[in-house]
Symmetry: C2
């Protein structure tokens, strides 16, 4: 299989931590998606510090909202929309309002937005999960959010590999 | 025992998180130091969010240095000096330099300064602890730092109670 070469911007669309994106570039090229995911896990959990986690969280739109207000790339915005497609298809005006209210309450308690790997999840499931996680201690919730971010990152790395295949011979060296 | 009444500024000298200080005022008056410590533990671990933890960490001087550069009160600066008296008495020029170098490396990895309850600890002990903790994952180290901050807070609440006794009858209501 051809070596995959990506830019910092590509990895930033997978996870909004600058440190993460820079370290992924340093760790690349990757011979497979599996190798990229293993590197991503190591970087995210062992090298990115807590400020980097907060930076990545802040690059997401609030769940149930569009990405327009978050500091995010066009690619990340499109992916975010796709990940929330099940939730959007199953939502009603009142469930979206309830989600928005709980999001505000969550942010008030924890100081960052509710992060969940929304792929394939209905609005009701997301809301139930938000209410459950709201009970957690801040440090416990911080680590759960980081694990959810990692799930999102893995899905997006998969999309990156499937949509932007650049053989090493034509890529920048 | 008389009820102890303290101001936000008093609690801020014990722990540099604004949220912590405000919640302590709301939870007071306390009938004993034990009651104040129980309230402080609950507030610090259950109510102060991760941004508040980072705020508290940033109010400390780097270990082995004076408090002049940190955003801290005169009281906190004096207490910090007292807490580091064993370390300072046991330090040499070269050990302080090594501590400073490791502090910089620690901060580079974790994004906040090395927090340790230095009371009664020599420079050699502090340095050994720093080197050991440097190996930790960022999220693990973040929680250890918060536990060390709580030890500092408890010691300082003790000082607050022993030096600033204000009976409720003369305090502001």
């Amino acid at each position: 299989m051809a070596l995959e070469r990506f830019e910092e911007q590509d990895f930033l669309a997978c996870c909004g931590s600058t440190k993460f994106a820079k370290e992924m570039v340093l760790a690349s090229p990757f011979t497979s998606l599996e190798e990229a995911i293993a590197a991503a896990r190591n970087i995210w959990f062992n090298k990115v510090d807590v400020n980097g986690w907060l930076e990545a969280f802040s690059s997401h739109p609030q769940i149930g909202q569009s990405a327009s207000s978050a500091h995010t790339s066009h690619t990340a915005a499109q992916w975010s929309k796709g990940e929330q497609s099940t939730a959007l298809a199953t939502s009603t005006g009142s469930s979206l309002q309830e989600l928005s209210d709980w999001n505000a309450q969550y942010r008030q308690k924890f100081g960052f937005i509710f992060i969940i790997c929304a792929s394939g999840r209905s609005t009701a499931e997301i809301l139930a999960e938000l209410k459950k996680r709201y009970q957690n201690r801040p440090i416990v919730e911080f680590e759960i959010a980081a694990q959810e971010q990692m799930k999102v990152t893995e899905l997006r790395l998969g999309k990156l590999f499937s949509t932007k295949t650049k053989p090493a011979s034509t890529g920048k060296q």
